[in-house]
Symmetry: C2
Subunit: 309 residues, 2 copies
């Protein structure tokens, strides 16, 4: 029942020593999602011991090279390793011709299908859904069309307190209704209030990926209450003007978003190549949002599964 | 006056832990040549402290992904870093559409010209020439059109022994003739034989890059006498059939080529992803050609400059 994010690349446009370009892996309940695909992602996966053959889907925020140039090699390697099951790719519509070109040159004998879902939305929309997980995509505010992603467990079915079943002598029909969140009105007119006998067996966990983006008013609202917010943090606060011009964010802007969103934790990355020590970024963010963590390549962040008692 | 080869990637089609895909940097007399461009080459350059902005030209052997997927990121980074001088790219003709596609999507504001020289030759032909260096390209024997490269210092002008100048009272005209390699016939009918008074100030150094290829008869002849031969060595000898089917070489085949070519040293790489320890490859090669060295990522091979006395 893991919910784990591995940082496979925390550099921005240019790689620096020890930092690859943007890529992350989210492992949730046995599914592997790859988020962005900076150059060298294959090697990072190998280093981190993440089984690349088990990648379920790939989510691409935008087509800037530092977010996609690792994709071709990865797709080729999966083919060589014998992948046969289709691979989902969620990316902006302008990624289509890139994929078409890749397939025309390198697609021979790839051995598996690429299912491309072009993204084009103005506000959060669900793009992926399984029994227990859903992924929403939403637009960010970058120089080119860019999307963020919210990965979350679905709201679980309610459980009924064991003692209530016994005390009240609940029937199977009544239990079913309570699990669906309903109150129960009995034949004698008495009411069993849902809140009194039902409980949420666990809190659904969530992770939001927001890179690359300048601040914009809707973002904190769209990721409200997220357990872990990854927000790009290309610049220290002193470079606000540069951030504005390039549609990126500073430390204080990333931290403000986390605070306004009521996020549990903030993880930052996508540091400018000027960044010598991410801890300076972390320190600035913490002045606004204390629960900030500056990611380095290879870092793993885990959201614990907390069972209700 | 360096002549130095840095191994930036020694894996074959699939990257494995600690091994990137094919890429090498040749630094010769202050010029930097990049040879093949496997994914992650930018990061390797940064790690090796090689100034990527000073790359003079890029030589691509063939368009298989493990030899080119690092190129897009590198070209983009050079642009971001402010490169303005043109960059030469020598690659098979079928690389043309790949470059065109890259430029159509990512070329905006690249800031420098790419000078593409399509390769198409049946035997060694000079493709690059400077005052002191020349590069020859020649076809290899792979599944798709593939070229090897021979980098060498030009034959230096002869020097005249100082003592001969004094003893024989050589005139400037006579010195000029001797430097051009001529004998001198004097007015009195006496002959000054070139070999008696001239010497080669240094032995020109040479490096040959042969990846990917199955053995073929002309190769040892085309790289004859090379100081350092890099020959791909994808398989151990036991996998000869596999090598044949995939147009690759085994240890013994690479070593036989080096022996037949009279190479000074053999460096091997492009190991199959099965390879756990390159020293097993090295040991097999040494049974045929003792001066074999199995390269690892980051290794540096230097050909010393030896001045004649």
């Amino acid at each position: 029942m893991e919910f784990r994010i591995t940082m496979a690349g925390t550099a921005s446009a240019m790689p620096v020593k020890g930092k690859n370009q943007s890529a992350q892996v989210l492992s949730v309940r046995g599914r592997l999602f790859l988020i962005d695909c900076g150059e060298g992602v294959q090697s990072r996966l190998v280093e981190a011991g993440i089984p690349m053959m088990k990648i379920d889907s790939i989510f691409i925020s935008h087509i800037h090279g530092d977010h996609v140039f690792g994709l071709f090699g990865l797709l080729s390697t999966l083919g060589m390793k014998g992948r046969r099951i289709p691979l989902g790719i969620y990316a902006p519509a302008n990624f289509g011709p890139i994929m078409k070109f890749f397939l025309s040159y390198y697609g021979d004998g790839l051995g598996y299908e690429l299912n491309f879902t072009p993204l084009a939305m103005k506000s959060p929309e669900m793009v992926f859904e399984s029994k227990s997980i859903e992924v929403l995509a939403f637009p960010l505010n970058h120089r080119i069309e860019t999307y963020g992603f919210l990965f979350r467990e679905k709201e679980p079915q309610l459980n009924v307190r064991k003692e209530a079943v016994a005390t009240l002598g609940l029937s199977l029909t009544e239990i079913g209704a309570i699990k669906r969140g309903e109150d129960v009105v009995r034949g004698d007119g008495s009411v069993i209030y849902n809140a009194d006998v039902a409980y949420r067996p666990y809190s659904p966990r969530s992770y939001a990926y927001c890179s690359d983006t300048a601040p914009f008013p809707q973002l904190p609202e769209w990721v409200h209450g997220v357990n872990l917010l990854y927000h790009e943090c290309t610049y220290l606060a002193a470079y606000e003007e540069q951030a504005r011009l390039r549609y990126h964010s500073t430390t204080l802007q990333a931290a403000a978003c986390a605070a306004q969103a009521g996020a549990g934790k903030l993880v930052i990355g996508h540091y400018s190549s000027r960044c010598r020590d991410p801890r300076a970024y972390e320190a600035e963010c913490r002045t606004v949002f204390p629960e900030t963590w500056a990611a380095s390549d290879g870092d793993v962040f885990e959201i614990p599964f907390i069972k209700a008692k």
